[in-house]
Amino acid sequence: MKADQFEKFKGSADYVISDALKNAVNVSIVLKRPLLVRGEPGTGKTLLSHSISVSLGKPLIRWHIKSTTKAAEGLYVYDTVQRLNDSRFGGKDVSNIKHYIKLGKLGQAFTAPEQVVLLIDEVDKADLEFPNDLLNELDEMSFYIPETDETISAKHRPVVIITSNNEKELPDAFLRRCIFHYIEFPEPPLMEEIVKVHFPDIKSTLLKEALETFYTLRKIDDFRKKPSTSELIDWIQALMASGLDGKIKDGEIPFLGTLIKKENDIDFYVTHHVKKKAQTRGYNVYGN
């Protein structure tokens, strides 16, 4: 198969993407391997799957992982409590176990009538063994339900996107099967593009000043949580909504709370940076 013979992911209008990531997505589609995406919070890991779904015109199935999620839940759940209840108090046909087998997200992706994009979001939130429990299912794209003696196999191999925040190390066996991409924090020119996608008619002066302030803040290493893209977007939205276009001055950051979320960080910023500047330049401290 040649590279141009498959449906290629080209990015979508509302999601700015680097060439490297675009290639990684396409390779994972062609090689039929899950794509593991890692990166700082707020760099658009989750949005990537939306963009792929839009660009390829395939439905998106989202499986959000929590600390209590078990791998088996993604395949199917056998609702024994309901069946017990029905057997005691009457209800559906208890003798047919199929009534009580509910397919999980992975099961839904396998049985979908067309190829889907399956997002397994924040895989590292779950138990350490979670990814290992999914190895075979993701490899073979099928699983077996002992209760009904059925094998569910994928009619159309889904495009699998997995995101991780690196809270837990993922097992090697799992990693070996994935294509990996680390989303770097965007440099200013790319960031400009991203902002323009969200706010097509933003004034260039505001954009310039906002980005300048934003990257200055990001340079402060002592923050517990550095502001990221999603915070920048929120902040610019607030700036535009309030009509404060282009009136950001040194050290006076309106709506600071949208950029910096941790109380400690705000305190730190106000005491260490604003006051210092204010003293040397004679400004008033804003928002203290």
């Binding site: 590279a3 062609v30 690196n166 190390e169 990693l175 294509i179 990996f180």
Partner: protein, 389 residues
């Protein structure tokens, strides 16, 4: 193809497996890769599974491909662009001929030359290094063959990116932050059933219901909880001063992790003698004999210290530098007591220099498994702590 590159990667300690190498071959076979730059990213996406190894990958890439001048598909286009009269209407044929020969080295030399000549920031235009414009140097420019100076560029030469070693800060043998320590410590766990019975035990419920002639009867079980108890014992002596930050990070990570059934910490000075201190100023002391009585043997013990001291401080009964009083036991005997009382003890050593061959370090390392206080070392220590004896 490129098989030596595989071994270069292995050499640089990038954990690649044959499995992944075959995937890369498949990708090459399917002609997914058109140029060097794509190869750089795709090989990385397929072979390297953590940004902590990106730096080693860059070094390996540079070593393997750096020696070869990158296949300069660029030169041709560059020449084409340069020969286009619209771009350089005032070039003489001699100049054009000179440009045609421009290879990577010349490009680099030219770049350095212009960098020296240039005194200020420059945007737009077609000669100086800057943003925008059509000069081959700079970023965000229109010249597709150009050399990237900071910022992202469409045509970054792969070797050049590798050379920049952009991911140096992500290496896991170098840095440790609180979050990373937490991730490592979270692996310290042994799940046991404990607490109130509030989880439905399905199997027993079905059993009981059947025995009860179909009348529902619920059975409950206790949820699983982590049963690990952690004891952190840190050296707060003078020679540990350079590592104070590192130790306090380890401490705050362990302390803020509400993950252990119990967490206790103590300090000592150079070597534990009769007393451990519960504060860093070492005023509130608790006799070790008492501690060994009240702390159960299933506490997992982590010592943190450089283990560097005078031989006598460790081996002599009156070796304590700070309190020249009477001690019941020499430091080494105290450590042996820890070893015999607790089933799992490890020693984390922040000192990685020549001091690691110091005699007292050697003695202590014989007593307890000793690891570097780095992410890798911590992970290995944690594995040791949860291992079965």
């Amino acid at each position: 193809m490129f098989t030596p590159f595989f071994y270069t990667l292995k050499d640089k300690k990038v954990p690649v497996s044959i499995n992944e190498w075959m995937i890369l071959m498949e990708a090459l076979d399917k002609r997914l890769i058109r140029n060097m730059s794509e190869f750089y990213y795709l090989a990385r996406a397929i072979l390297v599974k953590s940004e902590t190894h990106f730096d080693q990958y860059d070094i390996a890439f540079q070593e393997y491909f750096g020696g070869i001048a990158p296949p300069f598909e660029v030169t041709e286009e560059l020449v084409q662009w340069l020969t286009d009269p619209r771009n350089r209407p005032d070039l003489t044929p001699e100049e054009l001929a000179a440009i045609q020969k421009m290879d990577l080295e010349e490009l680099l030399r030219e770049f350095e030359k212009r960098l020296k000549e240039q005194k200020e920031r420059h945007d737009g235009g077609n000669y100086w290094i800057g943003t925008g414009g059509t000069s081959p140097f700079g970023h965000s420019g229109k010249n597709p063959q150009g050399m990237l100076v900071g910022g992202p560029g469409g045509m970054r030469s792969a070797v050049r990116i590798a050379e920049q070693r952009y991911f140096r800060n992500y290496r896991d043998d170098v840095t440790l932050d609180i979050r990373q320590i937490k991730v490592a410590l979270k692996q310290l766990r042994q799940l046991n059933r404990a607490g109130p019975e509030d989880e439905l035990d399905l199997d027993r419920t079905i059993d009981a219901t059947c025995k009860n002639a179909g009348e529902l009867e619920f059975k409950w079980k206790r949820p699983r909880k982590n049963s690990i108890k952690l004891l952190l014992i840190m050296d707060a002596g003078g020679s540990m001063e350079p590592y104070a930050d590192l130790c306090s990070q380890l401490f705050s990570a362990a302390n803020s992790l509400s993950h252990f059934r119990a967490f206790k910490y103590y300090y000592f000075h150079n070597c534990p003698y009769d007393v451990l201190y519960s504060d860093i100023q070492q005023r509130k002391g608790e006799p070790i004999e008492h501690l060994l009585k009240v702390l159960e043997p299933d506490y997992k013990v982590i010592f943190v210290g450089d283990a560097c001291m005078a031989y006598s401080e460790l081996m002599d009964r009156f070796g304590d530098l700070y309190f020249h009083g009477y001690q019941k036991h020499a430091g080494i005997d105290r450590l042996k007591q820890f070893k015999s009382h607790f089933s799992h003890v490890v020693w984390l050593n922040p000192e990685t220099s020549v001091l690691r061959s110091y005699p007292t370090v050697q003695i202590i390392a014989k007593l307890f498994p000793m690891y570097n206080l780095s992410l890798e070392g911590l992970n290995r220590a944690v594995k040791k702590l949860v291992s079965k004896l």
